[in-house]
Symmetry: C3
């Protein structure tokens, strides 16, 4: 049950509303005025709630649904109990997102600039932005329309931020261009110096880091994640990528579109990832690697060589997923002799 | 030697004081007026210091103690040199903590609200709290008695914090209920959105994250650690749990009582841990796992399946500790042929 | 190409300037007035640019250089195309750093104390420091000359910071002495309590952490990295060490001179590292280990035992590099049978 002190909740949502919002067909039109209390998982939904069923593998669980209603596909509707009111649509996943957005919302801060925010005169702030308490915005920064800059965020000189971005509290943004609709979470560090130095006569000499961080549109960057700026070149995050908390992305890395980088991944410098690459939690990449589009690297894997597009890899050093499983089985069997 | 510029140090502590504070028996009562200078380890304690000896495995080291006095058990006292004044008690570990707390203390900030703290009118602050510089406390937040909110901390609307909590500088707290006697360290991020989205037609659609973070009593959460709030459900941290720095705890995870989560652990979403589970440093858990009470997972292990209560596991993917050691030995032996 | 909105770029740099700055000999003195546009890599340098060539392994790549000029050694100059103007010197790496520093610079903030910085009266701030917005500096802190304290940084009571240090935004410094020429990045947490407690009767009792963090000269500590203070003893980082982002260094660890600790490494408590130890990304060390000088531990390795000086180790648990490679080959070969 969503806590109404934290979220805005739409009351008195009917199944007709659900059908409309999700572009679904209500199996029994006479039930259009029935109200639902909450969105819940298949297992936890009570008799006032609605749930979503879109994975054929869960058909046994579907038989035990206790919800008042369930959104599913025309294919899967047969697995629902008689007691559950069915709504069918093409894509219940999309329906799930749509109904969530319709029924619940976070409280958005009001547009306006907090009196304590310190904004350079040369900075340009767009329409309808909220700039939170103690934010520090440097010379020649430009921020688009509809942005929320949370308290204590620091945006260094000459950074550009697009429209409808949200920058979490205490984040640090420097040497960066950020597109539209991005969400940088609290404590993220964007644009710090890369880890570059030369060992000369027993001393590590810092190599000036002179690149930028270029972030596309619709990107999310998790809490306390660090993305260093490039050395001579730029660090680039492609449109639509999703980066989780506590990730390290080093100088000159280039991520394609729609990449998914799970928590605590570390990508060493000068790697190139294609589109829709998935890196599981705690994966590590050595430097200067090419990872082809759609490649998937399982959690905790260590990548020391290039990976082909579409490959599914696992282990440290990683090998194709099937090889890894064979290695695990071999070791388990033979070590017991 | 404790640096007296940083800590408050009680001077002129006598062995009689030690006996009283630690509920120990002084072997030679005539020594009650002898003063000790410092608490130190067995190896480093000098002739003015006191040390503690409670592990039979260290009996050889005990023979080399140079300290003026040593707190130990009736069982172990035989291993001390004649020159060392013995104090015996049932639990020298507890005695160690007690004497530390008696002799040394951090400087606590005075109660009061810094003039620069920005506190919503609807927020309720308890008695004897210290609210540091530039703290930002949102609408309808409640904070109990005796809390210390360090500088630059952001506590978002409707959060509840119990009594005697300490929230470190630049921490971020949102969508959270926190119990009594908790210590959230500097830079921790509590209550950010979970990493949840659906890939639909080549685009990652964010799934609204509508749960909370519920933290029990006597919990510590380390520096720069991230605990995401639940999706529909809550993320829960049980009473007495200890979470180290740079840990990732994802949406809907539920930790029982007294769990110990060492630095850089990553727990994927919807995992359930029983009571007193220990996860070593850098352990990774896949999502939707059940880890039974008292289970211990060694450092760097990767957990892909449920773990039974009391199990001791190691490796990636993890296996029972003995199996892991056998695998390591097998590999070492056979790869050399 | 360096973005001139972010960096200060010296215009009209001639090859004579380069020769002077890098202590190099221009092969053809008649070219001293030729201007260079930019520093670039061997592969990306265009006909107006200069590049550096110092690794014999890259001699084939050298043959394809398109740059106007290249700095190299007397030995390697033979591999350059005729079209490239050569400059020779003893150490092109050093020359690379020197020319970078000459041609490009970050905008340094002006000396001065922001009106919103909160500085205790007993604190001593040296000459020519910049103290940024909302910085909080506690009682009896001393800060040397030429330091930059970025916005929102918190420096707790009695800390000492040397000359020419830079402390990044939102960093937290407590119970610490920091030498000269150090750079602590944004969000680093220096001096939090170590993760120390005793399990007594089912409850974790916190052990007071009473040590300090002692950081030498010329040290860099990455963004969001955590260095806990010692328990009774100090945590020590030796001169010239380089620590990357998101690293965990626990209580009582002692690092020697010039160590390189790559991102997401975790070092458990009471470890001692010699000089110039290199820990690759995501390495984990168990507690109380000794790692000899010049030892190199490959990325993702797990260290459970002491490591000898100069050893090169890999794997979890780590073994000598050659043994690891043999294990990998053995497993790959035999698991396929």
């Amino acid at each position: 049950m969503v806590d109404k002190s934290f979220y805005k909740v739409k009351e008195n949502v009917t199944l007709a509303d659900v059908a409309k919002v999700t572009s679904a067909v209500l199996s029994d039109e006479s039930k259009g005025n029935e109200k639902i209390a909450d969105i819940a998982t298949m297992a936890s939904a009570g008799v006032e709630d609605i749930c979503f069923f879109y994975d054929r593998k869960s058909k046994e669980k579907a038989a035990e649904i206790k919800a008042k209603a369930c959104v599913t596909t025309a294919d899967l509707v047969q697995f629902l109990p008689q007691s559950v009111i069915a709504l069918t649509c093409e894509n219940p996943k999309l329906a799930f997102v749509a109904l969530n957005e319709y029924m619940y919302a976070e409280h958005k801060p009001q547009a306006g600039i907090d009196a304590t925010a310190q904004i350079a005169k040369s900075a340009e702030i767009g329409q309808n932005c909220h700039i939170g308490a103690y934010a520090v915005i440097g010379e020649n920064v430009t921020i688009g329309d509809g942005c929320v800059i949370e308290p204590h965020t620091v945006i260094e000189h000459h950074c550009k931020i697009g429209n409808n971005c949200r920058i979490g509290s205490s984040a640090y943004i420097a040497y960066a261009h950020i597109g539209n609709n991005c969400y940088i979470y609290s404590g993220a560090r964007i644009g710090c110096d890369g880890f570059g130095f030369q060992l000369i006569n027993g001393q590590h000499h810092r190599i000036p880091q002179l690149g930028r961080v270029i972030i596309g549109n619709d990107v999310e960057i998790g809490a306390n994640t660090c993305i260093d700026r490039g050395a001579l070149d730029d660090t680039v995050i492609g449109d639509g990528s999703r980066i989780d908390n506590l990730v390290q992305i080093a100088h000159n890395d280039k991520l394609g579109r729609g990449c998914v980088i799970v928590s605590q991944v570390g990508i060493a410098g000068s790697c190139t990832l294609g589109d829709y690459v998935v890196l599981g939690g705690q994966v590590g990449l050595a430097d200067h690697l090419n990872i082809g589009s759609m490649a998937q690297i399982a959690a905790q894997s260590g990548v020391m060589r290039d990976v082909e597009a579409g490959a599914v890899m696992m282990g440290s050093p990683c090998v194709p997923f099937k090889d890894f499983m064979r290695q695990v089985a071999f070791l388990q069997k033979n070590s017991k002799k």
